[in-house]
C-alpha cells in the first residue's frame, strides 16, 4: 500500500551523497516484480520494466532518494559540532530540531544567541549540534568530520488525509514510483524507473542517468511548493486538490506534449490536477530535458507544505491521485 | 461619428485643433449656431421650443493628456515633459505620435541587463526618459520635432472583452461623443453644448467658456477613474465599470447641486438607466468653472467609469457610455 511504502522509505537514512540505504529499501520492495535493477556510478538505482510493444518508447521516470542534511565541518573542544549545509537547509529550518547520524547518534540543533542584537538573520556559522558529548574526544567516538546528520525520522498523521515527515521531499515520489512499478502491467512502453541521487545539490544523479539511458521521454516526480497557508500566495497550488502538473520552474519549461499527456492521463483517470508555475526551484526534469539532443520531459508534482523543514506535509489524496495519473500516463506518450 | 474617430484624433491640451475640426463638421450638421471662442472652445447653441425653460449648458472636454518636446540630445533623442497629469511610470516602453506629421516614436528604457537590482525599484522620472524617432543626431531631431512639438500616446482603438473599449483619451472623448449625440435631438429648454479645451492643464477652457455662457444649469460629461481592480481595497473603488453612469455628489473642485444630484438618480431609477453614485472625491473637472464662472450655475457631473485614465490605454464599457448619453438626454427632456 502507498502509505506503508511511504512509511518504509521515510525511515531510511539517505542524505545527499549517501543514498544507499534508501536504494536497499526500494530494492527489497521491488524484488521479483521488475525485469532489471542496477546501480550506476553515482548510486542511482535504475529499475526497468519492459514494455510489450517492440517499437514502444523508453520512458524515464525519476524520483530522487536524497534528502537535505547537515554535514559536520568542525568539532569544538567542548564537544559541540559545527556544521554546513548539504542542499538547501538553513538556520530557520533546523533551529531546535532533532537530528540523527547514520550510526544512530542523535543530536539537537541550536543557534548561538545574537549577542550583537543587530537583528540580522542568523547564519549557518552560528549553528551547532549538541550530541551530549562534553569533550572533542568524546564526540569523536560518535561522529567524524564529514558525517551527515538528517532530521530524525518521524511520521505524523495530521487530520484525516495529511501526513508530515522530514524527507517527504522526495521520498513521497519514490514511494509513488515504487507503487507505479508494482501496479503497471501489460504496458506497451518500457518503464525506466530512476531513483536518483544528489538532486538537492544540482540534479547530479539524474544528469548522468539521463545521458546513459538515452530515454525517449522523461518524467520527474517531485514535490512542489504551496500557496495555501497564511501569507503564502504563490504558487497557486493547494494541498488536497490533486497532484500538480508543472508548467515551468527555474530548471525547465515542461515540454508541451508531455505536459498535455499528463492532463489527458488525469482526465482518463478521473483525477483532478492543478497547474504549477514556480518562480524558483528545479527538479530532475531539467536534467533529463536538456540531456544530449534534448528529451521531451515533464514533471508531476505532489503539493507539499513547509518544504525543507522537518515537517514537510502532504495530502495522501494527492498521492493516490498521482498514482492513478501515472498509470494512465505510461502509454500516452 | 464613431467613438473610434474621436479617440484616435490628435488633441493634447493647447492643440485641440484636429479634434475641434472633426467635431465642428459634425456639429454643424445638427446645429445652426456654432462658434469658437478665443480659448478654442467650440460652442453650439440650440434654442429650445419653450423660452420659459432654463438654459442648460452641457460640456465635455476635447483635450487629452500628452507630451511636449523640451529638448534634443546629441544622439537625436527627444527630451519631453507631460502635458497634463501623467504618472511617469506608465510611459516606459510605449508608442507615441509627434507633431503635425504624426511622426511615430517610442519611449525606451535602459535594458534590464545593464541595471543594478536597486534600480528596478526606482521610478524612471521624465528627466531620464526620451522619445526615439530614429533621428541620427541633434540637428535632425530638431528639424523633425522642433522644441514645443506635441505628442500623444499612439493607441489604436480596440473593442475587447465583454463589451469594453480600450483607447487613448476616452477621458474625455466619451463625453464629446455623447455631447454630439445630444445635439441630434430637439428640446424644450435652450441647449448649449460646449466642447472645451485645456481641461487637463487646469480647467482653463471652461474658465473662459463659463464667463460667456450664461446658463442656469451646467452638466459636465466626463470620463473618470474607476480604480476598481488590483489590490485596491473596496472602500477605495471610485466607481465600477458595468454599473452605469457615475453621478458625483462632490469632488475636490466642486460640490454638486444637491437637487440636481437627486434628480439625476431619480430619473435613472424611473427610466431604467443604469447609474451609480461616484464614491471617490479626489480630482476635479470643468464643473468647478461652470459653477463659479460668470454668473455661476447649478452643476452636476455625469461620468463614464474609465479604468487607467491618463495612461496609453483607457478602458470603458459601452453600456456605461450609452447610459451617460441616456441620462443626460432624459434630464434635458425632463425640463
Amino acid at each position: 500500500m502507498l502509505r506503508d511504502t511511504l512509511k518504509t522509505l521515510l525511515a531510511a537514512y539517505g542524505p545527499t551523497g549517501s543514498e544507499h540505504a534508501v536504494a536497499e529499501a526500494i530494492k527489497s520492495l521491488l524484488e521479483g516484480h521488475v525485469d532489471s535493477m542496477r546501480t550506476d556510478s553515482l548510486g542511482n538505482l535504475i529499475v526497468e520494466k519492459f514494455g510489450s510493444d517492440e517499437g514502444g518508447r523508453r520512458v524515464m521516470f525519476s524520483a530522487h532518494m536524497d534528502h537535505i542534511g547537515l554535514v559536520v565541518t568542525h568539532i569544538e573542544k567542548e564537544g559541540f559540532l559545527r556544521v554546513s549545509n548539504l542542499g538547501g537547509i538553513g538556520p530557520a529550518h533546523v533551529r531546535g530540531q532533532k537530528v540523527v547520524f547514520e550510526n544512530g547518534t542523535p543530536g539537537v540543533v541550536m543557534l548561538e544567541p545574537n549577542t550583537k542584537g543587530d537583528g540580522k538573520q542568523p547564519t549557518l556559522e552560528q549553528l551547532f549540534v549538541d550530541i551530549g558529548a562534553e569533550t572533542r574526544e568524546e564526540a569523536e567516538k560518535l561522529v567524524h568530520i564529514g558525517d551527515v546528520a538528517v532530521y530524525a525520522p518521524e511520521f505524523i498523521a495530521l487530520g484525516k488525509h495529511r501526513v508530515a515527515a522530514p524527507a517527504m521531499d522526495d521520498r513521497c515520489a519514490c514511494a509513488l514510483l515504487v507503487e507505479m512499478l508494482l501496479y503497471a502491467e501489460d504496458q506497451k512502453n518500457t518503464i525506466i524507473g530512476v531513483f536518483s541521487t544528489q538532486e538537492e545539490v544540482g540534479l547530479r544523479g539524474a544528469t548522468v542517468a539521463a545521458f546513459n539511458l538515452e530515454p525517449d521521454i522523461g518524467l520527474a516526480l517531485d514535490v512542489t511548493a504551496w500557496g495555501d497557508t497564511p501569507e503564502t500566495k504563490y504558487p497557486a497550488v493547494k494541498l488536497g486538490q490533486g497532484p500538480a502538473v508543472k508548467i515551468m520552474d527555474r530548471s525547465m519549461i515542461a515540454s508541451p506534449k508531455v505536459r498535455d499527456a499528463l492532463f489527458e492521463a488525469a482526465e482518463a483517470a478521473g483525477v483532478s490536477v492543478q497547474r504549477e508555475v514556480l518562480a524558483f526551484g528545479g527538479t530532475d526534469g531539467g536534467a533529463i530535458q536538456q540531456s544530449r539532443g534534448g528529451v521531451p520531459t515533464g514533471t508531476l508534482s505532489i503539493p507539499c507544505r513547509y518544504v525543507h523543514s522537518a515537517v514537510e506535509t502532504i495530502d495522501m489524496r494527492d498521492m493516490e491521485g498521482a498514482l492513478k495519473v501515472l498509470l494512465q500516463f505510461i502509454d500516452r506518450v | 461619428m464613431e467613438l473610434r474617430t474621436l479617440t484616435d484624433a490628435f488633441g493634447p491640451s493647447g492643440y485641440e485643433n484636429p479634434v475641434r475640426t472633426l467635431i465642428r463638421q459634425e456639429a454643424e450638421k445638427r446645429c445652426d449656431d456654432v462658434s469658437v471662442d478665443r480659448m478654442g472652445n467650440l460652442i453650439c447653441r440650440k434654442p429650445g421650443r419653450d423660452r420659459s425653460k432654463p438654459a442648460v449648458a452641457v460640456a465635455a472636454h476635447m483635450d487629452e493628456i500628452g507630451f511636449i518636446v523640451v529638448g534634443h540630445t546629441d544622439d537625436g533623442l527627444l527630451r519631453f515633459r507631460p502635458v497634463g497629469g501623467i504618472d511617469p511610470r506608465v510611459v516606459v516602453s510605449k508608442w507615441v505620435l509627434i507633431g503635425n506629421d504624426r511622426l511615430p516614436g517610442v519611449i525606451g528604457a535602459p535594458p534590464i541587463h545593464l541595471q543594478e537590482r536597486d534600480d528596478l525599484g526606482k521610478v524612471l522620472p521624465f528627466s531620464k526618459l526620451h522619445i526615439d524617432i530614429g533621428a541620427k543626431d541633434q540637428k535632425e531631431a530638431e528639424s523633425l520635432a522642433p522644441l514645443g512639438s506635441y505628442a500623444v500616446f499612439d493607441t489604436p482603438y480596440m473593442e475587447y472583452g465583454d463589451g469594453f473599449v480600450a483607447a487613448k483619451a476616452l477621458d474625455d472623448r466619451v463625453g464629446c461623443f455623447n455631447l454630439l449625440k445630444l445635439l441630434e435631438e430637439e428640446y424644450d429648454c435652450d441647449l448649449i453644448c460646449v466642447f472645451v479645451t485645456q481641461e487637463e492643464v487646469g480647467l482653463r477652457g471652461s474658465h473662459t467658456a463659463a464667463f460667456s455662457l450664461d446658463a442656469e444649469i451646467a452638466v459636465v460629461l466626463e470620463g473618470t477613474a474607476a480604480n476598481d481592480l488590483g489590490d485596491v481595497e473596496e472602500r477605495f473603488h471610485v466607481c465600477t465599470p458595468g454599473q452605469g453612469v457615475a453621478v458625483s455628489f462632490m469632488d475636490r473642485a466642486s460640490i454638486a447641486d444637491r437637487a440636481l444630484f437627486k434628480t439625476m438618480l431619480k430619473l435613472a431609477r424611473e427610466q431604467g438607466i443604469p447609474a451609480q453614485v461616484k464614491r471617490g472625491i479626489t480630482g476635479g473637472n470643468d464643473a468647478a468653472s461652470f459653477q463659479r464662472g460668470g454668473r455661476g450655475a447649478r452643476v452636476v457631473v455625469l461620468s463614464v467609469p474609465c479604468r487607467y485614465i491618463h495612461s496609453a490605454n483607457n478602458v470603458a464599457k459601452w453600456s456605461d457610455i450609452r447610459a451617460q448619453a441616456d441620462l443626460a438626454r432624459a434630464f434635458l427632456k425632463s425640463l
Binding site: 500557496g227 500566495k233 504563490y234 504558487p235 497557486a236 508548467i247 515551468m248 519549461i253 515540454s255 497547474r275 504549477e276 508555475v277 518562480a279 536538456q290 544530449r292 534534448g294 528529451v295 | 544622439d75 497629469g85 504618472d87 511610470r89 510611459v91 516606459v92 516602453s93 510605449k94 511622426l103 516614436g105 517610442v106 525606451g108 528604457a109 535602459p110 535594458p111 534590464i112 541587463h113 525599484g121 521610478v123 531620464k128 526615439d132 524617432i133 530614429g134 533621428a135 535632425e140 480596440m158 475587447y160 472583452g161 465583454d162 480600450a166 477613474a225 480604480n227 481592480l229 488590483g230 489590490d231 485596491v232 479626489t282 480630482g283 487607467y308 491618463h310 495612461s311 496609453a312 490605454n313
Partner: protein
C-alpha cells in the same frame, strides 16, 4: 521575402521559451525556401541545412522571446503574472498584452490614475506582484478561458522610425534569425564548401537550453552565434554600449581567436564595417553552451546593437542587419577544411 517584411512578421509570432511551436513552424517554412533539409527538433529549435562537403559550420540565432505567464487568476477575474526571461516590470503599466488562454485574449495591465496615487506610491516602481491584467471579462468567463501557466506576450507593434530604424518587441533575437534568412539568399550566388547548419534555437532567454541540445545533435566543427548587443542610450555607460548602424564582433575567452581572425578578414575583404566589444567571461548568449558542446566547438559571436532591450520597443538599424547578413554569407562561403587545422596553431 524581403528582410524587413520577414522581421515584421517574425517579431509578431508567438514563441515564449518552451513553447516556440508557432514561430518555429513559420521560420521552418521560410528556411525551407533555401535549405536542403529543415526540421524542428525535440526542443522546438529549427535546424536548416545547406549541404556541403567541407567542415560542419553552424549558425545560431535564438527564436524565443521574453514574456510573462499567468500565475494566478484572482476572484475578480484579474490575472497575476510571473516572468519568463528577464523583463523589467516597469514597462508594463498601461500596456496591451496578449494572453494565450483557451482563446487568444487581449488584456491591459492596470495603472492607477495619477489623481489617486499617494505620495508613497508615486515614489516607488510597481513590482510585478502588484500588477494585474484586465481582460474586460466577467470573472467566471476568465476562469473558464484562462488557467495558471498560460503564456502572455508583450504588445507587438512594428514601427518604422527615421533612418531605416525600426522598433518592435523581440528584435532580440529574431533580427538575427532574419539575418540568417537573408544570408541564405546571398548564399545562392556564392560557392561554399562547408556543410552549413542554420539553427534558430529555443529557450535562450532561460539559459541556452535549445542551443545546447541542438548543437549536440548537429555536432558542428565550428559555430557562429548571432545575438543582440546594447546600443548606446541615455542611462547607460558609453563604455558598455555600442553605436547603431554597424554589426559587432565579440572577443573574449569563450570565443576562438583564430576563427574570430578569419571573420575579421572576411569583413575586411567585403568591406563590412564592424565594431568590437569584449566579454571577459561568459557572453550571456548561446555561445556559452555551444562552445562547450560535446568535445567543444570553436565559436565566433557577432551581434546587432539594439536599444531598449527586453522592452516592447527595442530599436535597431536595418543597415546593421543588411551588413551582418553579407558578413554571415561570405563567412559561410569562405569556410574551408584547412581552417580546422589552423584553429589551434
Amino acid at each position: 521575402m524581403e528582410m524587413k517584411a520577414f522581421l515584421q512578421e517574425v517579431t509578431a509570432k508567438r514563441g515564449l521559451p518552451g513553447d516556440e511551436g508557432p514561430v518555429a513552424q513559420w521560420v521552418a517554412e521560410r528556411f525551407g525556401e533555401y535549405c536542403d533539409e529543415v526540421k524542428i527538433d525535440a526542443m522546438h529549435s529549427v535546424v536548416g541545412r545547406i549541404k556541403g562537403d567541407g567542415p560542419r559550420l553552424a549558425f545560431l540565432a535564438h527564436l524565443d522571446e521574453v514574456g510573462l505567464m499567468v500565475i494566478k487568476v484572482e476572484d475578480d477575474g484579474s490575472l497575476r503574472l510571473g516572468q519568463v526571461g528577464g523583463i523589467d516590470p516597469r514597462i508594463l503599466p498601461g500596456m496591451r498584452l496578449t494572453v494565450f488562454g483557451k482563446e487568444t485574449l487581449p488584456g491591459i495591465v492596470g495603472a492607477k490614475a495619477p489623481h489617486l496615487l499617494s505620495e508613497e506610491e508615486r515614489g516607488r516602481a510597481q513590482k510585478l506582484e502588484d500588477m494585474y491584467v484586465d481582460l474586460g471579462l466577467p470573472a467566471e468567463k476568465v476562469k473558464e478561458l484562462v488557467r495558471v501557466g498560460d503564456q502572455v506576450q508583450l504588445e507587438h507593434r512594428f514601427v518604422e522610425l527615421k533612418n531605416g530604424r525600426v522598433a518592435a518587441k523581440t528584435l532580440d533575437d529574431r533580427c538575427c534569425v532574419a539575418i540568417l534568412y537573408r544570408a541564405m539568399e546571398h548564399l545562392k550566388g556564392l560557392k561554399h564548401q562547408a556543410d552549413l547548419y542554420f539553427i534558430a534555437s529555443s529557450q535562450e532567454e532561460v539559459g541556452g537550453r535549445g542551443a545546447m541540445t541542438s548543437a549536440y545533435n548537429a555536432e558542428p566543427d565550428m559555430a557562429m552565434v548571432l545575438d543582440v548587443g546594447f546600443a548606446h542610450q541615455p542611462g547607460c555607460d558609453r563604455e558598455s554600449t555600442l553605436d547603431m548602424g554597424k554589426p559587432l564582433i565579440t572577443l573574449g575567452p569563450y570565443l576562438n581567436p583564430v576563427l574570430t581572425g578569419k571573420l575579421e578578414e572576411v569583413a575586411g575583404r567585403i568591406k563590412v564595417e564592424v565594431q568590437k566589444e569584449v566579454a571577459p567571461r561568459g557572453t550571456g548568449t548561446d555561445t556559452d553552451e555551444v562552445a562547450a558542446s560535446r568535445s567543444g566547438v570553436p565559436c565566433v559571436l557577432i551581434g546587432i546593437p539594439v536599444k531598449n532591450m527586453h522592452t516592447a520597443v527595442e530599436v535597431l538599424d536595418m543597415n546593421a542587419l543588411e551588413e551582418a547578413a553579407r558578413l554571415v554569407a561570405h563567412f559561410a562561403a569562405a569556410c574551408e577544411a584547412s581552417w580546422e587545422e589552423e584553429l589551434w596553431n
